[in-house]
C-alpha cells in the first residue's frame, strides 16, 4: 500500500435514525493517515459516537463509503474478522463482561483467531502488564476502579494487534489523574506500535495533545477533511 494512502477514507457518509427523520451524520468526508492521532470534538448529539460506531463496523452507513485498512465497510458482507483484527474499540463505559476476570476479558477477542489457550493467556498477561495491571489479571471488573477497568478495555481493544484504535470518550467518567493515565497509555501505544488512534473527547486539554482536531457540528465536519 502506498504510504500516502489514508488508512481511513470516509466520503459522503450519511447515517439516519428514526426512519430517516434524524440525520445523525449528514455528509461526512474524512481521511486519516496511518499512525495519526486524531481527536474528534463537538457538541453533544453532533454525531461523534455514530461516526465511531461506523468505523468499528458496529453499524452501516445509509449513504457514502468508508474504507478502512482496505475493507469497504459499507459493502462488505462479513465484518467479524475486521472487528476482531483490524480495529479495537474503547467505549465511554468500559463494556467489559462483569463475570469474567480481567485476563479473560482481554482474551475474548482472541477466540477464533487460531491461538491456543496458553497463547491467549500469555498475550493477555502481556497486555495487562503493559497497561499497568500486572497484579490484577484475576480480578473481575466490579473489583476494579473505573480507571483500571478502562485500562482493561484498552488491553482488550489491542488484543489482536489492530491497526486502528477507536476510543469514545474513554476518560469521560474518570477523575483527572486516572484520565491522564489512560491518555498517556493511548499515546504510548501509538508511539510504540504505530497504531492510528481516533479519540472522541469533550476535553480541550486532551484534544490539544492530538496531531489533529476534527471539529464536528450537526452531523458534519466543520473544519476540513484532510490531514493537517
Amino acid at each position: 500500500m502506498n504510504s500516502d494512502a489514508p488508512v481511513i477514507a470516509i466520503s459522503g457518509v450519511v447515517k439516519t435514525f428514526e426512519n430517516g427523520r434524524l440525520r445523525a451524520l449528514d455528509g461526512v468526508d474524512l481521511n486519516v493517515q496511518k499512525g495519526e492521532f486524531v481527536a474528534i470534538v463537538g457538541p453533544s448529539g453532533c454525531g461523534k459516537s455514530t461516526l465511531l460506531h461506523l468505523l468499528a463496523a458496529l453499524d452501516r452507513p445509509d449513504e457514502g463509503t468508508i474504507v478502512v485498512a482496505g475493507h469497504d465497510l459499507a459493502a462488505a458482507r462479513r465484518l467479524n474478522e475486521y472487528r476482531a483484527r483490524d480495529v479495537g474499540m474503547v467505549f465511554q463505559l468500559d463494556n467489559l463482561l462483569p463475570t469474567l476476570t480481567a485476563s479473560e476479558n482481554v482474551q475474548v477477542p482472541m477466540f477464533g483467531q487460531g491461538h491456543s489457550g496458553r497463547e491467549r493467556r500469555r498475550r493477555a498477561d502481556e497486555l495487562l502488564a503493559m497497561v499497568g495491571l500486572a497484579g490484577r489479571t484475576r480480578n473481575r471488573p466490579p473489583q476494579l476502579s473505573g480507571g483500571e477497568r478502562q485500562r482493561v478495555a484498552i488491553a482488550r481493544a489491542l488484543a489482536n494487534a489492530p491497526a486502528i484504535l477507536l476510543a469514545d470518550e474513554p476518560t469521560g467518567r474518570l477523575d483527572s489523574a486516572s484520565g491522564r493515565r489512560v491518555l498517556e497509555l493511548l499515546e504510548q501505544v501509538r508511539r510504540e506500535q504505530g497504531i492510528t488512534v481516533i479519540l472522541v473527547t469533550h476535553d480541550p486539554a486532551i484534544a490539544a495533545r492530538a496531531d489533529r482536531v476534527v471539529q464536528m457540528l450537526d452531523g458534519r465536519i466543520a473544519n476540513g477533511t484532510g490531514p493537517a
Binding site: A84, R85, M89, V108, P109
Partner: protein, 162 residues
C-alpha cells in the same frame, strides 16, 4: 371353586364372581384407568418441563443482549455466540437432569410415608420413557435405573404393562 362361583352367579344374577386375580380387570377398570392417567400426567409433565426450559433459555438470551452485543462488537460471529449459548444450555441441562432425577427418586420415596399411598403404590424406577423397562417390581431389588423424570416413578400395584 368354579362351582361355587357359578352357584353364586345363578342365585344372585346381579353379582359377578371372579376366581383369580387375573380376572380382576373384568370388574375393575380402575387399574387401567390409573395407568392411563399416569401416562397422561407424564406427558403433561414433560410438556410443561419443556416449555419451562424454553422460556428460561429465551429469557436468558433477552437478559444477555448486552453481553451478546459486546461479544459481537469484538468480532465474534453469530455462529460462535450461538454455539456458546447451546453449549451452556447443554451443560445446564445435564446438571439439571441429574438433580431432577435424584429429586424424583427422593420424592417417590417420600410419598411412601403416606400410609394410604404405601398400601396402593410401589415405586418403579424406569418406565414408558425408557427403551426397555427395567423390571424392578420386586420390592428391594438393588438394580434400578434412574427414572426418566421426577413424578414418573409411582406406579400402581400389579397393573403395570411393563
Amino acid at each position: 371353586m368354579n362351582d361355587v362361583a357359578s352357584f353364586i352367579e345363578e342365585t344372585f344374577p346381579n353379582l359377578v364372581t371372579i376366581t383369580s386375580v387375573g380376572e380382576l380387570s373384568k370388574v375393575d377398570q380402575g387399574v387401567e384407568m390409573m395407568d392411563a392417567a399416569n401416562l397422561a400426567i407424564s406427558i403433561l409433565a414433560v410438556g410443561i418441563g419443556a416449555i419451562g426450559v424454553m422460556n428460561t433459555m429465551v429469557m436468558s438470551v433477552f437478559e444477555r443482549t448486552r453481553e451478546i452485543g459486546i461479544l459481537r462488537a469484538v468480532g465474534w460471529s453469530g455462529a460462535r455466540v450461538l454455539r456458546m449459548i447451546i453449549i451452556e444450555s447443554l451443560a445446564l441441562c445435564l446438571v439439571a437432569a441429574g438433580f431432577g432425577a435424584a429429586l424424583g427418586v427422593a420424592a417417590s420415596r417420600a410419598v411412601l410415608f403416606v400410609p394410604a399411598i404405601r398400601s396402593l403404590l410401589e415405586p418403579v424406577y424406569g418406565g414408558y420413557l425408557h427403551p426397555r423397562p427395567c423390571g424392578c417390581h420386586r420390592r428391594g431389588s438393588r438394580w434400578r435405573r434412574l427414572p426418566g423424570l421426577p413424578g414418573r416413578a409411582a406406579h400402581p400395584h400389579g397393573g403395570s404393562p411393563l
